[in-house]
Symmetry: D2
Subunit: 443 residues, 4 copies
């Protein structure tokens, strides 16, 4: 367990060391529930049932970043056509998260709305159609969920249409198309995630509620609130009032910042006498230098973020802090690889009563190093070593902080109107010129 004794928040009841725990394989025959024809498990307990009984739900990591590095997603459009083009790659990643301890398989439907699949020259809508991409995502998620005791969450995210100032009716119609697939494929619950504007998130929640299934909603905002200035607390209140059973944040900021936002959301809900379950799915990237827009504004986004990647030990601290704050749906977003989720599951193993399957390849706190051939590496097989280590960057020409872009462009700005056509050379040149003036970069 992460030792927070020297920090402000002290856990009062220290719990059993995880090393004492049995590694429980969720795939073991005895526990495997019967599976119906539509892929629905007859016996699996639902999301709200689990949360209400105090169970800790562990989410998965960010698929677009992980699959971009594996060669199946294109940075820029970030669309999930891999579900159709390379299902084996998507399936493998789901499986790794399941083994790592995830109790939710979120359908790989990020940015799978029709308007996004045809934005700026994207070929996916025309070649495959949004319906096919969303259906394939559901099938893969269900297949892997049934290899363990996991639930399937159908996910929607913010749309280019909203950014381009389309009407509520238009935007809701887009969400409804994805929802139709989720209902047909009978996912276990809904998750509206990655919203910069609370208004659009409310619309999404309202549509998803039509399904009758539990609905979660996360915004990609920091402690300063949404892009139009609505405070974090008010965002939470509005989402719960719109019908969300589960609210929180995902993406855009590191765990430390996300938990600050979560604290504000929690306080907002308490002040409004509202109840909801809490969810956090932050970046696995350190972002102490971000402004309101999060990591998108960092010059390193998205191709030079490596030095910011969290270690597994950072994840122990995140999991403990999130738990102490009362969050019970604890997952991740961009940057999270399976070993990050495993670290979350290992930190909370005592509370959950079992270790994830993938811990068969990972003894607690570096214990596996006891098998290393070099004695000085064996000497690192201890919690005290890893917990205190502040890793060097190995990059003497790198600073700690970057200055984020600050274009100040928000919804309604002509630069945010999306288009079906590929960005032209002229449009790009204009952008390069603008960038030069804002950041002082030499072309």
């Amino acid at each position: 367990m992460w030792d927070s004794s020297s920090e402000e928040a002290v856990l009062e009841d220290p719990c059993q060391p995880p090393s004492e725990l049995e590694k429980k394989d969720p795939r073991s025959a005895a526990e495997m529930p019967p599976v119906g024809e539509d892929g629905k498990t007859a016996a699996k307990r639902g999301l709200l049932e689990r949360l209400s009984s105090g169970e800790i739900i562990i989410g998965d990591g960010g698929f677009v970043f992980a699959l971009e590095k594996r060669g199946y997603v294109k940075a820029g459009p970030w669309t999930p056509e891999a579900t159709v083009e390379h299902p084996e790659a998507v399936r493998q990643l789901h499986r790794e998260f399941l083994r790592a301890g995830s109790t939710v398989m979120q359908t790989f439907t990020f940015y799978a709305s029709e308007d996004k699949l045809e934005n700026r020259g994207n070929y996916v809508e025309q070649r495959f159609s949004g319906q096919k991409v969303n259906e394939a995502a559901c099938d893969i998620a269900r297949e892997v969920a049934n290899e363990g005791d996991a639930l399937v969450a159908g996910g929607v995210s913010q749309t280019p249409s909203y950014l381009s100032c389309k009407s509520e009716t238009d935007v809701k119609a887009i969400f409804r198309k994805q929802l139709d697939v989720f209902i047909k494929k009978n996912v276990d619950f809904m998750l509206a995630e990655y919203f910069e504007h609370v208004e659009e998130a409310e619309w999404a929640v309202e549509v998803l509620k039509e399904s009758g299934k539990p609905v979660g909603a996360t915004m990609c905002i920091g402690p300063e609130g949404d892009l139009t200035g609505v405070s974090a607390g008010d965002c939470a209140v509005r989402l719960v009032k719109a019908g969300a059973d589960l609210v929180g944040v995902n993406c855009h900021f590191d765990p430390t910042t996300c938990l600050k936002t979560m604290k504000l959301m929690k306080e907002g809900l308490e002040a409004a006498n509202l109840k909801a379950h809490l969810i956090a799915q932050p970046l696995a990237l350190h972002t102490p230098d971000c402004n309101k827009q999060g990591f998108i504004d960092l010059p390193e986004f998205p191709f030079a973020l490596e030095p910011r990647l969290l270690t597994r030990w950072d994840m122990h601290k995140y999991a403990r802090d999130a738990y102490n704050l009362g969050i019970r749906y604890i997952g991740g977003c961009c940057g999270f690889e399976p070993y990050h989720i495993r670290a979350v599951a290992e930190e909370l193993a005592a509370e959950r009563g079992f270790l994830p399957v993938a811990s068969e390849k990972h003894d607690a706190w570096g214990g596996g190093l006891a098998m290393h051939t070099k004695p000085w590496v064996r000497a690192r097989a201890q919690q005290a070593f890893w917990e205190k280590l502040v890793p060097a960057s190995g990059r003497p020409y790198s600073a700690s902080f970057s200055k984020p872009d600050s274009w100040g462009v928000t919804r309604g700005d002509k630069d945010l109107v999306q288009q079906k056509e590929t960005t032209t050379e002229n449009q790009l040149k204009e952008m390069f010129e603008k960038q030069k003036n804002i950041t002082g970069m030499e072309a």
Copy 2:
């Protein structure tokens, strides 16, 4: 192409921009060679044939690190039982490297010698046997190699037996057991890699030569030479004299350091009037602060190396520098993920005449960002931006350099004698105590 105009080494013949290149899918039917029953491709050109004709061979990345993060390899023993336990995970990683541009599928047989599979409590030898692990590795590598125009390399690495001062006969017997599998499975060539002592590497080469197949050999040394003080140049000379067709370095140091070592090896061979092909497979981790033992000695090894991870742009520079130095087998080791190999392949696309398959998800130099919804991110869709960017660490409490461990323990030291038994609590305590005295760490 990496712009080295402001650096010392200037490429004399600037070549066509890769954007002009056709993305050639090595899996296209027309090119797919017939495959025999034993998995051997009838028509594939061999390694030496390719190298002699000037073809650039692109290696793959490090499997143990990549699969550790995916949950299939245990850090500490670092053994490859996943070939038996989870072949689908190993296959998927091979496939990603193939798509990224690798022309070699190296069998996942690192540390698959019998003495390692039973060292310090490792269960693999007893549960599966080394033979089974090695055979499974060959089958998977061949299966994926045949999905493209790739060769299979059978790999051996340094042994606990040598560290424990076993005899030449004993050590060679161990290599020979792996070789038997490689011959049976008819791999295309042999690769002896990750040797800290040139003597053991010579023994490995001598054994592998018995196969009649081409043999490559790489040492995990830096510019200071091997652990017994043999210079990098002399190491190269001795390996070629022992029979290696291909010599170089792998692992332990970053590309910059490895290329310094390669320069010394090349000069050593020239001084001795010897000819050999050159191979480099460095870390994808920055290690400017390492001493002779490489990254093993860094306190961050192996669980807090994240900030040191190279970006894809670092890889462009590496590929160009390696090419300019005359190296024609260019690959990677620990830390390399598929997108790193793709960057190598993209940098050398003009020289090779084609782009890797996975570039369908990656336009040159961030070009895909032209499809991003945010205008300031679209403004990063240019080489000038990424080539100059020095990424921030996002870690204000991190320094650039670490002080490596310097236990000074080398072959023959009692701490390096390996054992079948699990490391005992007492042995660990002794190590912790020693570490405290050496590094001043508080227990």
Copy 3:
């Protein structure tokens, strides 16, 4: 002038370039005012007259830090016995600040209260007496002030007595002893500085007001307010109500942080409909990582702060930002050397109408480099170069941030009760032990 065009606050009326300005020597005969017998200049305009007419007052830098480095002040007690022991050293430093552009010579009477001069074994009270130290300080300040058009400020600072919970009567009696000297020596105005508790600062102001002279008051607090939790705005309000003509902050934080605090103070005064002149005298040390106690809590305090030292270019930005915020008494504290004050004076030369004398040895924005022998150094003789440069630390083992001590000890704690006796070995051992537990440092 500092170019803030790319920053949020933009100066609307760009002013004349300083290079056009005449270097006006305040010591030139024509301007030198007649000097009376008691050292008072008959014709010098007073502080409030100057401030009310819009004149910019430039303070001096921190004497204890500067003289500690020159060998005349002891870090720990930080007392100003150098006025008696080595008046030539104190006089020289005053003179350097005068030449650099300071319009105030503050008496070197920091920590010159009787209770401090005899605290923890300090010999000064007994050997010289506080009266003698304070008188000598006044004489030196007046002598140098009269070499130019500068005013003399008599300064008092927080007392050990207050920390030890002595009564208002006792603490005021201590301030009154120093005041008696200032009245006798007829200083031009009073400055109560370096207060962590607003209550003690109020007491000081009330005593100093008895003189009938203008009184300024600065607290060493950050945006979080004083150590008892009084907000920065409320501190300002209470000080003005107590009689201060001039309020602000000094010491403990860097310019950026101090200006944040000043903004809060200004807003507090406006909300209370109070008017006062504003003063800022921050550190010349970067302190982004400090908590409420400021740089005292940094492990680097006071003997390893070098890497944090501001450059002259940082000072240009500070001067401009302070001016834009409406502050008209702009000076410095610990870390400020004469060249830092000169940079402030150079940045504001257009507004003031003249350059400081010491600019005869410093052309604007590095212009003097045009005389360098090396061409690439001559190429640095331009504002564009220095304004954009982010200096490297040259320290690869150093991080950007430290974790400040957080003992949480405040007034009333037994560890804060001061004593005449030297700290005993046992007391020190206790401290070392406490520190080990708090910071994890190894003894």
Copy 4:
């Protein structure tokens, strides 16, 4: 004493703790030697006598940098007209170094050759004449030397004439003019310092030898040797053969780098069977990232070097390492302030048998903090704390390393031909343009 127990070089005979030592005031009446009319002390032991008897000579710090910050020297020309314009400022700095432990007062005659005093528009030669500047420097140095047991060294440095390819006769004539003053003023010994080319240094030594006094010579080179490629070892050999009694390095590099160079010089002398005393006077600035030209090439030179400044604790290590290497004339150059020299003197107090006068304001290893009011600051009053501390930079936007300029311009290049005329606007523009192309800086 610096604890080097955890480092490679271990001092065999640990010596008494300095705290046991009596603080010996060199100015105490009993010891003060009689002083002759010309300022020469009748009884002072000479340089060689002292060195031969094993005495440690402590040099002073760099005057041009220290006085630039105090407002008396112009960066760019770096000439010492302050000896005439503000003798009180020069005298005060000498006095501070004397108090700090310096046993040599080096005349402030750096760059005081005639050709430098009139280079590129410099007014000094015409307004005062080189003779007057040099004479005033000698008088001030002698005056302060006689306040203690210090010697006066007459210093010469490299000339613009040599850079502009003037003849040996011309260059020697320039040195001889300064020598005439030193002979007239009867300095105790000669020091030729800051030479980038060994040939010019030889000429200087040959001229200075004409005086019959001891001659020291230091080059501003690193381990790579002089700018024409003469190795450090060969430089030392040639200087001793030219007549130098004392050889070594000064300026341009940090202590670590300078001691590497000194090791090479020492080995060169031993290999040539030559004997000479060794002297080191490095920067007080960290320069791990410098190339052959030293800190001149860093973009931070000379106005943004603050973060690189050494702490007093760095100086303890330097003094110990220099002593262990056999160097017995240990001083400093640019960046050294009096407290740095005091730290050298404190580290070597046991070997010298006394502490410097200024230690009356500095207890060993932060001991004075025992008198601080805050308990957590008192807890820093110990060697263990300061010796291990790696100070943070407080600069999250700063990297550790800079890329030095690499113009590759050397003696004979037209850009190095010096001129009497002020650099013209056109010449500056050309430089700015060149710089942009070399460093990629935007104008």
